[in-house]
């Protein structure tokens, strides 16, 4: 139905007729231009959710043009556990006509459209949604006063949303003040003016469309919640892991990790160097590690390709190192501001020669933090390079999670410069390598050489084929030793069944939701998620045995032979024909519905439309 409140006929000021409708979870999509600061609305809502013990997940797009342009920010918040940013929206806020045109399709039937009546003319004949015109631009200008132009529209809209969902005013106001304090008093005042104006608007203009989040008591850890994006989580995870040194070169979407570390590390007595290119960066990082201080470098696809030679040296010289790859659309410069998981094969096989190394992939923002710590642990324990594969989606996505127990976690970064015993060898054939960093005395009086040439146990170059075989085995076996210690992977769902959904990295969330949906309609299935992608934990073949189909879901191409990159690796190891592949390369994170749909093609083509339909109606539809 069309709302009685059209811009032309404001409904006057009676109080809302109906009590607020109770909801569990809502997806709000804000569509405007990147300049309008819609990201910050999302930011506020996310952090508010955190402070309100609600779960939240956001999703945004960055315009691919330099000068900014159309951009969206989607926030999903609720009282249940939230695993994906939501396929489609319950509420759409359209700032411009182009926003309306481009995104009205993403609104679920029964959903609510809020549009800036100063800029947007919606299709009045469209009866699928509740349409509410709001003079966002003029409302903002009025409230703040002519000078400020339409700056503050985002805060005005924040006010409106606060009112519609009965959000915690005090906390929200506090957040707004915190955010703008640094920018001076009148910026804060203007912001609050816009906010209050927005907050007041529904009261005077809407009869219904008021909501309240159900207070279901979820088991909360009791710990405070923190709200941040994936790149920040990686950076702070590294700091918690005692990483104090790094070097890199900028590239989107990696840059913010280096920007945070460059700003933060000095507070911890550390150094982060911006280098002339990615090769210099990994070299400088290896130099840091050589002094006994595990270092980090990182980039995105193009930069990773440049690091392949030096990474091979790290494997050969057995030098610990952390390399972060924030994956984006490839190949080459590709789709720099979109998400993809297509750098997996390179992470494992990108360097010439047999160069085993470790590859980890976080599944969500919280995992970015803990995976960074785990990467550091492994790099130190096995004196090996470790690659963390995150992606553009994770990098900018905001989530809420329990504040980590730092007191328990924090790692002391002190390098071990103690004197090494007379029997010290840098490359013992019968044990793990642990280097004597520059600065450490050697009781033997014999100082070690680290090298990229094949070498004997003392690091001296050799042309011996026998030693090459032994050292190649040493480098291989230590990674297998790590594999033997890995925890069993996360397996959720039926112990046996038709389908086992397998994921790595950020496809975890939508896959998990997909599992819930297909099980709702009676499919016996489970979801196996692998955070350790190389080496794989042992024993997967036992799990695979229990399902008719192993459906590997990942964001990359099907390749020449019809299998995504991770599916290729699993098939190579297990030679199990039941392993099939679900891939896509549209630069967007998987929608739950996409996964459900493709699974249905792999399990006796059973029709899962029911489950698809299930979640298709808006949570805001009139009861």
């Amino acid at each position: 139905m069309v709302s009685p409140n059209t811009p032309d006929s404001p409904s006057g000021a009676e109080p809302p007729a109906r009590p607020p409708q109770s909801i569990q979870d809502v997806v709000i999509r804000l569509a405007g231009n990147s300049q309008d600061g819609i990201q910050s609305i999302g930011g506020f809502l996310a952090r508010l959710a955190g402070r309100s013990d609600q779960d939240v997940m956001t999703y945004m797009t960055i315009p691919s043009t330099i000068s900014g342009g159309p951009s969206i920010f989607q926030v999903r918040m609720g009282t249940g556990e939230i695993l994906s940013s939501g396929d489609r929206a319950d509420m759409l806020v359209a700032f411009y006509q182009h926003s309306y045109d481009a995104h009205i399709g993403s609104l679920r039937p029964g959903g609510v459209l809020l549009y800036d009546s100063d800029h947007v003319k919606p299709n009045a004949e469209d009866h699928r949604f509740t349409q509410v015109g709001i003079p966002i631009t003029s409302g903002t200008v009025e409230s703040v006063g002519g000078t400020a132009k339409d700056k503050g529209k985002n805060i005005y809209v924040l006010g409106i949303i606060a009112r519609l969902f009965e959000l915690d005013l005090a906390k929200l106001a506090a957040l707004v003040k915190e955010r703008f304090r640094s920018k001076g008093e009148d910026v804060v005042r203007n912001a609050m003016l816009a906010f209050d104006a927005g907050y007041a608007w529904p009261q005077n203009n809407l009869r219904d469309l008021f909501y309240r989040f159900e207070a279901i008591d979820r088991v909360t850890s009791g710990r405070p919640q923190i709200t941040l994006d994936g790149n920040s989580a990686v950076a702070y995870g590294l700091i918690a892991a005692g990483v104090r040194h790094g070097a890199a070169y900028p590239i989107t979407p990696w840059s913010s990790i280096m920007e945070i570390l460059r700003a933060e590390l000095p507070k911890y007595g550390g150094i982060f160097v911006q280098c002339e290119d990615e090769i210099a960066a990994i070299s400088t990082a290896l130099g840091f590690s050589y002094t006994g201080q595990l270092a980090i470098t990182g980039s995105s696809g193009p930069g990773l390709s440049l690091k392949m030679e030096a990474l091979g040296w790290a494997t050969m010289a057995e030098m610990p190192l952390i390399v972060v790859n924030v994956q984006r659309g490839g190949p080459s410069t590709g789709l720099p501001t979109n998400v993809e998981q297509s750098d997996l094969m390179q992470a494992i096989y990108g360097s010439h020669g047999d160069a085993p190394r470790v590859v980890l992939a976080p599944k969500n923002v919280e995992d970015c933090f803990y995976m960074a710590i785990e990467a550091a642990r492994i790099a130190r324990a096995y004196s090996t390079p470790v690659i963390i594969l995150t992606d553009q989606g994770l990098s900018s996505r905001i989530e809420v999670f329990d504040e980590p127990d730092l007191a328990r976690i924090m790692v002391d970064p002190k390098p071990d410069l103690s004197e090494r015993g007379a029997d010290f060898k840098p490359y013992p054939l019968d044990g793990l390598t642990h280097h004597a960093p520059a600065g450490s005395k050697l009781a033997s009086g014999k100082y070690p050489t680290v090298t990229g040439l094949e070498h004997d146990e003392w690091g001296h170059p050799t042309g011996s084929g026998k030693l090459h075989m032994q050292m190649t085995a040493k480098r291989r076996e230590k990674i297998k030793a790590l594999a033997a210690t890995l925890p069993p992977p996360e397996l959720v769902g039926d112990p046996t069944g038709e389908a086992l959904i397998v994921t790595w990295g950020s496809t975890w969330g939508p896959a998990r939701e997909a599992l819930t949906r297909i099980r709702k309609v009676g499919v016996k299935a489970a979801h196996l998620h692998l955070g350790y992608v190389h080496p794989l934990p042992n024993g997967l073949e036992e799990i695979f045995k229990c399902y008719h189909r192993i459906v590997v879901v990942e964001m990359n191409d099907q390749g020449l032979y019809g299998f995504g990159q991770f599916a290729t690796l699993l098939r190579a190891r297990y030679a199990n024909p039941a392993i099939v592949s679900v891939t896509k390369t549209d630069g967007l994170t998987f929608q739950v519905r996409e996964i459900v749909a493709s699974i249905s093609q792999h399990i006796e083509s059973r029709d899962l439309d029911a489950s698809l339909g299930a979640a298709s109606h808006s949570n805001l539809a009139k009861a």
């Binding site: 952090r47 919640q225 702070y236 002339e276 210099a280 070299s283 600065g439 050697l442 990229g452 003392w458």
Partner: protein, 313 residues
């Protein structure tokens, strides 16, 4: 194998001798200029008497870059052309270390040319010795960026055609704060240049003409008196106000150094440029740390991160 035989550790306080500093026997060709560079480095270290564990000898790839295997200090053999940024990591990662980088003209001026420039402009505190033989030795005689026009190599059978770089000019322009030039037949001079470079606080570089007897025989005879060559040292300004001092080279004058680098072959030897004023990257980063710690009032790592998280609630 030799490496299995451990050199007896130095008794505490004992002087650091060539004996203690000697490692594997060099694999260079008999007569290679690099032997003399190694000998001079031993002598320089004997004079400097740094604690053995505080010396790092690093290199890229090339005949000259095998250097670290022959020096019994911490050290390593990295990949081709990237030893300078690696060494920058060592220097910045542990400011107590005395970092020496050795390499060839191909390693330093061809594939590694850009790293040299950026480490130099940042003035990272380390000493870089380029053993320039005007040819690619390890790969057996291809043209290098310092090979003169007309040099017959495997990649220029009829003689090199590309204008070579001018190493001194390149180094002066790079922003290196100490730039010197020497010759592998002049052990005393090499040693002196290495000493001054090592003692310089900042990015110091010494180019040493070191003959490849195998693939570029006689390349540097023009600077060897007993072979009829001329060995001319730079006459450094003494600032003694004497009239003759006016004509002397002012090592703090970049333009003069640039001009000096233009002298006809075989050119001059000694210190072309020296800048004691520029802060090192090491000092600049230490400054950032000090400032940051001031702001955090030296709070513990745990407290700092805790506070950050508090702001993220």
């Amino acid at each position: 194998m030799s490496s299995a035989v451990a050199t007896p550790p130095l008794p505490a306080g004992a002087p650091l001798t060539k004996k203690a500093l000697t490692a594997d026997h060099p694999t260079w060709c008999p007569g290679c200029g690099d032997f003399a560079v190694l000998a001079s480095f031993y002598r320089a270290l004997e004079k400097l008497q740094y604690p053995q564990e505080k010396i790092v000898t690093f290199a890229g790839i090339g005949c000259s870059s095998r250097f670290p295997y022959f020096v019994n200090t911490h050290g390593g053999h990295y990949i081709h052309g990237r030893s300078v940024p690696f060494a920058a990591g060592i220097s910045l990662g542990n400011d107590d270390q005395h970092v020496f980088v050795f390499g060839g003209d191909g390693d330093g001026f061809s594939i590694g040319g850009n790293h040299l420039v950026h480490a130099a402009r940042k003035n990272v505190n380390l000493t870089y010795v380029i053993m320039d033989n005007f040819v690619y030795g390890l790969t057996k005689k291809q043209t290098s960026p310092t090979s003169p026009i007309g040099f017959k190599s495997k990649t220029d059978l009829t003689g090199a055609v590309d204008q070579p770089i001018n190493p001194m000019r390149t180094l002066v322009n790079s922003g290196a704060s100490f730039v010197a030039r020497s010759h592998a037949t002049q052990v005393n001079h090499m040693t002196e240049m290495m000493l001054r470079a090592a003692r310089h606080n900042g990015f110091s570089v010494v180019e040493i003409l070191s003959e490849c007897v195998e693939f570029y025989d006689g390349a540097f005879d023009a600077a060897i008196p007993r072979k009829g060559g001329t060995w001319t040292l730079i006459d450094e300004k003494k600032h003694d106000g004497t009239p003759e001092d006016a004509k002397r080279h002012d090592v703090t004058d970049e333009v003069a150094a640039f001009a000096l680098a233009g002298q006809p072959w075989p050119g001059l030897f000694g210190v072309f440029y020296e800048n004691k004023e520029r802060p090192t990257k090491n000092a600049l980063e230490a400054g950032l740390i000090a400032k940051a710690r001031e702001r955090t009032k030296g709070a513990s790592d745990l407290d700092v991160l805790q506070a950050t998280f508090a702001r993220l609630r």
